[in-house]
Every structure is written in C-alpha cells, then in structure tokens.
Point group: C2
C-alpha cells in the first residue's frame, strides 16, 4: 500500500538509499502520490464482426477526440463506448452502471520529476519557516531551503515531521485557500507552466466523450482529496463528490468559538494500490466498467474493474514521449510501471502510447 | 459520537440499565444507528415581502408534493427552493452547489421500535446459529433465540461479539446478498410490512421535487453503507455513490484464489453526530445548502449546513403521530430529539409535524 511512498522517497534520495522510516512516516509519504507509468500493447476484447458492424458510428464519435490520432488505442476506446451504449445490444450497460475511474498523477496530468502535491508540500514548509524559528538547525529544513531535495530526503523522518507540522491543526477552509493560492502562482520547475495547465488534453476530451455517452467520471487517486477538489471541476469537469483520494484524519471541533472541520496530522486512508478498490467500494459502491491508470499503483484498480461481469475495459497510459513530456516506465521511482505492464500484455489491455497516439499533450496555456 | 449506540443499547435493555461496554463495543453498536426524533416549530428565514412575491409559483410547485398538506412546513420548503433556483435572484444557487442531505433512520424511513439494521443483525445471528455450535451456552445467544432482546442486551459484550462474528470475514458481495435476501423477506414486527415499504411517501416526493429543481440528493446516515445501498436507488432514487454512512474496515485481499473485497470485524468510521460533517466533507466535499434530519444525531449536520454563507435551510422531522407511525422525541432512546429540538426553536428551523403536515405516511404496499 505504500509502494508509491517508497518510490517518492526513493526518488528524493536520488535513488541511492533504500527507505527505512517508521510506518507513520510511510503513511504520510504515501499520501503524496498517485501512480506508476506504463507500456505494452493490447486490445479490448471486441469481436472482429462486432467491430466492423459499429465502425461507421465509431468513426463519427471519434471526432469527439481531436487530440487522439487515428490509432488502435482510440479505436479500442470508441468501440467499447459504442458497444455498451448501443440500445438492444447484449453488451448494453444502463447509464447508472457506466462508471469510469481515472487515476490522476501520470494519467490525467504529469507527475515528473516529482508528484505535484509534493512540490506543494515542500513549498508549504518553506512558506511556514518564519513561524517556526525552532526549525533553524533542522537538517531536513536546511536542505529544503537550499533546494537540496536529495539532502532533505536523507532526513526522511524530520522531513515528514515538518510536513505534518505545516498543515496539521489547520481548518479545512484555511488549507483549501493555501492550496488554491499555490496553484494560482506555482510553476513547474522545467516546463514553466502552472501545474493545472499540465493536464493531458486528450484525456480532457476522453472524459467529455464518456460523459456525453452517459458515463459518470471519477478520479481515484493516491493524492489527497483536498489537493484535487479545488480544481477538478473547473479543469476536468469532475465535481468534488466524484473525487476519491487519500484522506487525513478530520474532526469537527470548536475553533475560535465556532464548530469547524480541522485537519489532523495523520493520513487515515491511503487510496493507492490495494487501497483503490477499497476507496472505490466505499465511495462509489459500484464496480467501474472502465478504468484508466498509468502505473503499478493502479494495478489493483484495473484488476478489480476487469473482474466484474459484462463488458469492461482497462487502459494504461504509457509515458514514452521524452520530447513533449517525459519517458519512463519500469526503471523510474515516480510512476513505476512494471507489473501492470506485464499484466496488460498478458490480458490484452489497451495501452496508450503518448508519443504515437496523442497529437497534442497539454492544452493551450491560460493567459 | 456514540450517542446513538448508547441509545440503541439503552433501548434493548428496556431502559433499565446504563451502558457500560468497551469502546470497541460502543463503536460496533453505534454503527447500527441513525438519529434521534424531534418536535418544535420554526420557519425558514424568508422575508415576508419575498414570500409574497414568489407565492404564485410556489403554489404551482407544491403540486409536486401531493402527500404534504398545505402547511407552513411545505411552504417553507417550496419558498426555499424557489429562492435558490430563481435566475437572477440574489439568492440564486448554481445547480452544482444545490446539495441536499438527508438522514435515513427516522427521516426517510421509520426507526422504531428499533433501528431496522439492528433487526437485520439479530436475524443474522439467528441464521448463523447452525454454523456456530459453540454459541450454544452463550447467554446472549440464548436470549436472542428466545426473542428476549432485553436479556440479550444485558450481555452486551457477548452480543456485539456475536454480531461481529457473523459478518467479519465475509466478502462484500456475499454480505450484499445476505442483506438483499433479508430485505426481500423480513417484515416489521408490529407494522407487518417489508422494511423498505416503511419509507415516508412525503419524503420520496420531496426528494423528487428537489432533483427536479437541480438538487443533488445524498443520504448521510449513521447506518452502514452496505445496508442502504442495495435499495437506495430503487426506493429513494439515490444512487450508491450518493450514500454516506458508517463504514467497516474493508481490505482487498486473496480469497479462494481471487482478489476480492473482504469485510473486517470492526467499524472504522461512525457517521453520526459530529461524524456527519466529517462524512460530508470527505464524501461530498461541498457544504450542503439543505439538510433534513430528525434527531440529536443530526444536530451537527444541521449546524454545519447552516454555518455556510448564502441561503440555506435546516429541517427536522417530528415523530408525533402515534396512530399512523410512532410518537417520540425527548424521552425515547431510539431517535432522541432533545438538543436539536431546542436549537430548532431558537434558530427558527423548519420542523415537520408528521401528524399535521403529512396526509400520508407510507407508500402503498408492494404486492
């Protein structure tokens, strides 16, 4: 369940040391994450004759996906949507059951060189420094201030303690404002764009296409709820109530004479790996028929989706475009795709090549 | 947070003994519950002139509520809906923000003489008896088999242990089937109808009316998720993903050679009292503008709803109809309404008199 936590810290350590921290530390670290990126090639199990029969309509629908090249991946998706929405078809799925789940990091937006939520958390520590003179000689803090991420990661426990100190005890409203302010101003270190501009244009089109076909779209991410909700509706068209994520302990308690929701210092639920089917069960209560991920952290979500009866589809995004985005799969520690890649090959899941299947990666930048 | 758990056990003990069990026991007990019933009189804070201005349209809309008598409660609700949906009005609320939350037990269906989920759990223990010969001399088990509920409750710890043994370790699918089978066959001990026929017809109309006006309706109940979801869509029109409830620990694990979701023996989150605003925050992520409850277990949900900016409305159902349903408020231990009743009076919240405001309580029975 904390595979990504380990990966994240592994990355921060420049991949030189192995992870050793306490469970609590692992839990906090694991909250920062999402997924692990993928490659291979496969197909949704549509019969050849059925494929032919629906090709005409499929082509028409595909105009809804302008940033998708006319590839097998797009055809797989369009075929699937046509199959489950065609009235009277044996594969018809009633709209209420058309649940589509998307991982976030690496599936809907970029995740390199570090999960974006992690950039936020490090910036939070920096911003809180003036209120914490006692941090002055803390080695993790000193490393962060020197932008020495690998150095900070060597002080893992101290680092996680700093992160916990920054937001534990904040009201959820104050924390929400902090996130919104950061998203408005922070920029990606190498791509130099706002983080919410680093979402994938083809996926925005895919989610719109699915919703136009009666699907309900959900995010199912290892990231925390409150980090995604402020922008999921505006950017993805996914309302807050359809965001499933990791959760901190929250209590309803008295603060400044008013009852209010206050954040605890600890992660309560890690919605990653085997946590994703649990999060889906608790939040959605129906098994999805379509799941899209990009990493080993999504494997169980894809397996859980595919284990149900009737037509269903599993999709992986493969990060193979070093020029326009990033290229990584088995050997990275942020968004590692290894086991899920093998399984996609064996099971014939659809694997999107970002390089070949997408004509555009990001939307036009906001002014 | 375990106020209702205490109440439930208090009732089972025939109100003669006070509760004494361990925290774990309290947590399990508290899961069985929902709310605490109410009475008083108040009004939504609509100005007189505004009321007059919208009375014509309000009257028309009220035809959507045929089981509601033409009372102040109905007028309060219709006025509120008209205010927040009128384009260009300063009180206009965009559809995405029209979140309405309903408690379940005592608010959408009956809860006397015992929370219905509790009847299910006791029947489960009886049904599992053949697989548990070791229970033979257990005093709690013997009391249950003799339908001596007060006697069983005297053996609180043993009783809760039996309940935990029955479903802990079941797959969620198997548990779901058990619930569906029970709901199909079990009947209320005094009203002699299926439990899902003991929902309130006026509330079904209210939820339809709200949805027709762009509201998204949610259940926010102390009962557990899996007990409500199998029928919430068919009966209430509320899909599983809009049911917020108490949750058991669930793990995704290997069972008979397949990965599957398995129930743990323990409650992880109690969605009651101060837990309700937490459940709303985590599941919905927006503050409701309309909350309907019937007991002190709903007080914090109502307070949280009313503490936001803009137009908002809090409603209590008062169980004052001994002839057609049950009459109880401050002195009952199932659905106690005491503090919330006082607060409704002070704050002018709308209080529904089941006796006076509803021309019909239950829908026609299914064949």
């Amino acid at each position: 369940m904390d595979g990504n936590g380990k990966a994240a810290l592994g990355w921060m350590k420049g991949r030189t040391t192995r992870r050793s921290g306490a469970l609590a530390a692992a839990a906090i670290a694991a909250s920062l994450l999402g997924a692990l990126g993928g490659c291979a090639s496969g197909t949704d199990a549509t019969s050849a004759s059925e494929s032919q029969a629906i090709q005409a309509t499929a082509r028409a629908s595909a105009t809804a996906l302008p940033s998708w090249r006319d590839s097998k991946s797009r055809q797989d998706i369009v075929n699937f949507v046509e199959r489950v929405t065609r009235q009277g078809s044996p594969d018809f799925v009633p709209p209420a059951e058309r649940i589509a789940v998307f991982d976030n990091d690496g599936t809907l937006w970029s995740e390199h060189p570090l999960y974006f939520q992690y950039f936020f958390l490090l910036d939070q520590v920096k911003a809180a420094a003036p209120q914490h003179p006692e941090w002055k000689n803390d080695p993790a803090f000193k490393a962060i201030m020197a932008n020495d991420i690998a150095g900070a990661a060597k002080e893992e426990k101290r680092l996680l303690s700093l992160i916990a100190q920054v937001s534990g005890g904040m009201t959820v409203d104050a924390y929400d404002k902090t996130i919104r302010n950061w998203l408005d101003t922070a920029r990606h270190p190498t791509l130099n764009r706002r983080f919410t501009d680093l979402v994938y244009q083809p996926q925005l089109e895919l989610m719109n296409y699915l919703r136009a076909n009666g699907f309900k779209t959900f995010i199912v991410s290892g990231g925390t709820l409150e980090f995604m909700r402020p922008w999921s509706e505006r950017v993805y068209g996914i309302p807050p109530e359809q965001v499933v994520g990791s959760t901190y302990g929250i209590t309803y308690t008295m603060r400044d004479g008013q009852m209010t929701l206050v954040r605890g210092p600890k992660i309560e639920f890690i919605n990653d790996g085997p946590g994703k089917p649990v999060g889906i069960y608790r939040h959605i209560g129906r098994r999805p028929i379509l799941a899209v991920g990009n990493s080993d952290g999504d494997l169980q979500m894809l397996q859980y989706t595919m284990a149900g009866a009737g037509p269903r589809m599993a999709v992986l995004v493969h990060h193979d475009d070093a020029q326009r985005e990033f290229a990584y799969d088995r050997k990275t520690s942020i968004g590692t795709l290894d086991k899920a890649l093998d399984e996609a090959g064996k099971k014939g899941w659809t694997v999107i090549s970002m390089k070949q299947d997408w004509s555009q990666i990001y939307p036009a930048a906001r002014p």
